[in-house]
Symmetry: C2
Subunit: 224 residues, 2 copies
């Protein structure tokens, strides 16, 4: 299991007089993460469970968060930041390579298999929960899309192969990879290779489709 640092400085340590702080927001976030797994989702965690795991009294929770929903949102922010860092690194590492797509997909699956709880949260909990929670998840997905879009445009320019609506391509890829990734969490590891192949193929099809549409649009404009 990957050790998640949870060093988000979420509490904005203002140095005011008279304080102790033996327990921090991060401690609670870390405790919540420890409780998560294939069979425990954020929405099923109780306040008392988290404080029990963190080793503090239930009411101490309120010193850090208004309620569990606020903790859940903080968890999503954390997860998004963590994942973008990882996949971003993988993408730039592979950028010199020919196979950016496969490299990124592999990095993604690897992270999934390392049992990254943060990734689990982001992948599977986007559709259930409070509005604030759902918005937090959507925000992270949008960040992802934007980074991917920039990469796509860059690569397209380098390859001299224009893309049709790169923003849409980025969105489609992101949502698809996340959707398939979410189901992958419950599958045995033996299926990973096949899943990577399928995901890679899907992403390539989307990009090829975008190029085809772009080429088609260009030629039809020329025809006019």
């Amino acid at each position: 299991m990957t050790q998640n640092p949870v060093s988000t400085d979420a509490g904005s340590d203002h140095t005011t007089p008279g304080r102790r702080a033996t327990i921090s927001r991060d401690d609670l976030l870390a405790a919540a993460l420890r409780l998560l797994g294939p069979h425990r989702s954020v929405s099923s965690l109780s306040l008392r469970e988290v404080t029990r795991e963190a080793g503090i009294a239930p009411n101490s929770f309120y010193r850090q968060f208004r309620d569990m929903d606020e903790l859940a949102v903080a968890l999503i922010d954390l997860a998004g930041r963590s994942l973008r860092k990882i996949v971003g690194a993988a993408r730039h590492r592979a950028a010199t390579d020919r196979s950016v797509v496969r490299g990124s997909v592999e990095a993604f699956m690897q992270q999934l298999r390392d049992d990254d709880k943060l990734l689990h949260v982001l992948l599977r909990e986007g559709t259930v929960g409070s509005d604030a929670f759902k918005q937090a998840v959507d925000r992270e997905l949008t960040f992802f899309e934007e980074e991917l879009r920039i990469d796509l445009v860059r690569i397209a320019a380098a390859d001299k192969a224009a893309l049709h609506e790169p923003a849409l391509v980025a969105r489609a890829i992101t949502r698809l990879v996340f959707a398939i990734g979410a189901t992958a969490m419950d599958l045995p590891t033996e299926r990973d290779a096949e899943l990577i192949r399928q995901l890679t193929e899907m992403v390539r099809m989307i990009i090829a489709g975008s190029r085809a549409v772009a080429a088609e649009a260009r030629s039809s404009t020329r025809d006019k």
Copy 2:
């Protein structure tokens, strides 16, 4: 709000001596559906809530289902059957038309906007819940993929435009539409037109990409 018939004959009405049956499995399923909405998911429903809504005593629940999980799975079966019927009809209606893709996407969104609770269930609850529940959702998605695959092959044959890995194409389209659809549930209706456009474009890109890859593979084989 669409009136959902819930006439699944789920209880297998065996005519044994001495029975009454003033309440049925379907009554409980209907009650559960009534409670669902944008802010209530199946996993957050309690047994007592459902029986309250159905107007029976809490313990009567056990005459129909072992527990809430069994009810949730029954709900998924119902939802899958309902949605496949609707989209299947839309697809065949549009099959004569040129725009199968757009027609299907529109039918899908229309159903979503009719506040079809069954659709909500299927779209958004696939990743949280018991194993049995998740498997039920996955089963329905797989049915969907298979029907779509058959349609794709049929259309490709008619158009004389071969597809690369139609099964993968069907899977990508299904998962993508469901993922985007799930987020659409929370958006205001004004965004629908834009969403339909995006979804249609995405699906077309996937299909175009599949054709492009197929064409490329064919030409490279010919080159050999």
